[in-house]
């Protein structure tokens, strides 16, 4: 399926002996696969030969439906999952799976915002402490706990509180602030808006984009919601059953989708026009 799309946008590069071409991208995935063992002794290929790159100061939207492997891909990028094959390169360093040891310094530039804001903040630690931990990673950074809270539109007294006094949207903003505090070069958002109200989704997504780009970072924004992705992404990659089926600029994907699956996804988005038309 991969080969049907434009090779240029896919950046599929089987020749490993051409590193200069790879170095100008911030993050480079080359033919990455990931497998899970199934109960019956079989294997499930969650990610199947994905090649992708993330440029500097770029927002890449990764779109797909549940079970397509997009979360696994996010974990692979962060080193939380062991690839079955292929190579991931971040800033000219290979991304190695995170074992029990400390995460290597050169990989700390990849930070993640998780889907569930109710699970991604420590319930027994103050917001200030959790933010300070992240700030300590980037001593040269300009952020402070206060400026972070201000950047994500939270009152300054939030720092003294614990996570359960916040709503889902507020928690997600704290999680974003924590990821930003570490001074990431690549921010990975794994469905960061999926558990939020529709009215908050676009706002939080735009906030993530603005904060990432303003701080000089790039972002991979994973979502099943094409309409939000369209709002914030420069390029979009569409994933189906572990493979990337189409990559292109947001405008091109939106206006001129090549792959059937992309077309199907786009057609399924309900329009808010009050016409009573069920999509699809």
């Amino acid at each position: 399926m991969t080969s049907t799309s434009e090779p240029g946008t896919l950046d599929r590069n089987p020749n490993h002996d051409s590193p200069p071409a790879q170095t100008h991208h911030l993050l480079e995935l080359d033919d990455v696969s990931c497998e899970y063992k199934l109960g019956g002794g079989g294997r499930f290929r969650a990610v199947d030969g994905v090649s992708l790159h993330l440029g500097r100061s770029e927002v890449l939207g990764l779109v797909g439906e549940s079970g397509c492997g997009k979360s696994t891909l996010a974990k692979l990028i962060c080193g939380l999952e062991k690839p079955a094959g292929g190579a991931i390169t971040f800033d000219a360093h290979p991304v190695k799976p995170l074992g029990l040891g400390r995460r290597p310094k050169h990989l700390l530039g990849i930070q993640m915002v998780f889907q569930n804001p109710y699970a991604s903040l420590n319930p027994r630690r103050r917001i200030r402490d959790q933010l300070s931990d992240a700030l300590a990673l980037d001593p040269g950074g300009t952020w402070t706990v206060e400026s972070l809270l201000e950047a994500v539109d939270l009152p300054l007294d939030s720092a003294q509180r614990y996570s359960h006094s916040f709503s889902g949207g507020q928690r997600q903003r704290i999680a974003i602030a924590r990821a930003l505090a570490a001074g990431p070069k690549a921010l990975v958002g794994d469905e960061p808006i999926a558990s939020l109200d529709a009215f908050l989704q676009a706002r939080i997504a735009r906030m993530m984009r603005d904060l990432a780009i303003d701080s000089g970072a790039s972002m991979i924004f994973i979502s099943h919601d094409l309409s939000v992705v369209r709002d914030i992404a420069d390029r979009v990659a569409v994933m189906e059953a572990g493979r990337i089926v189409e990559v292109g600029s947001t405008e091109q994907i939106w206006n001129d989708p090549q792959h059937k699956y992309t077309q199907k996804l786009l057609a399924a988005i309900p329009r808010v026009d009050g016409k009573g038309i069920i999509p699809g």
Partner: protein, 321 residues
Amino acid sequence: MSIGTPKQPPTNTNPGAEAVPGNPGSPGNPGNPVDPGVRRWTIRFPKSLRTPLGFVGAVILAVWLLLAIFAPLIAPFDPLAQSFSRLAPPGGENILGTDTLGRDVFSRIIVSARTTLPAAVFVVICSAVLGSVLGAIAGYFGKAVDEIIMRIADLVFAFPTIILAMVIAAALGPGLKNAIIAILLVSWPSYARVTRSLVMTARNSEYVIAGRLLGFSAGKSLTREIAPNVVSPVVVLATLDVGSAILTMAGLSFLSLGVVPPTPDWGAMISEGVSQFAAWWIAFFPGLCILTIVMAFNFIGDSLRDTLDPHTAQEVGETTS
């Protein structure tokens, strides 16, 4: 764990009084001026004592603590002094009677509390710390480390507590120190098990993973991220365990494997009383002491558990901060 002790003195006569008004409604009340961090440690414990049983337990324990602290002032006689009024029944000059050597039972009881209570608390703290550190290591690192630690724990679990404690105490020789070592060796595995399973759950949670992505080492991850979420159940377990530590200690001295005579000790006194069937008070009152104090710790532990248990954790999460 160590924070168990500073929290324990419920001698503070009205523990929950100032705490409660701030609690209800706090979830939707983010602007609450009370610092949540301070409230967390000062309020949670007394709040849990506001259950009827918890309150009874706290009162009993408070009385015992006072008796133990002021024992030298309260005790009417020297606990070791023998007199000619042997086996005097309660009610006379010796309010709880005298034993076979004419020693005052009341004085012996309250002086005995001075060794038993601190020893029990000490042994529980030590085993809680030892057990939870081992359990945390096993749970966090898994694999071989986990196997080795937990198989040793299983080995200890395979024996009845008191019998294994007896074997160890007998091997080391009688004495308070050896009794403590024996109890420590038999009681750490329960902490290890509890902590291990809690840590295993916590280490896969997203906030711990987020910490790992921020470059936390295993130690930092354990102490900063996981420990605060694991401490409460361990504290509950430890509180419940003080009672059984007292029982085991009394059991050991009953079998002459604990505190060496003539130092007064409840277990030894009961043992002495058993042979003096007519003088019921010799065994009865130390027994009553053990009963009340074990009950007190169990009550406190139970009400602590009710407020801190995962099943009610949501409610607690809402009401305590």
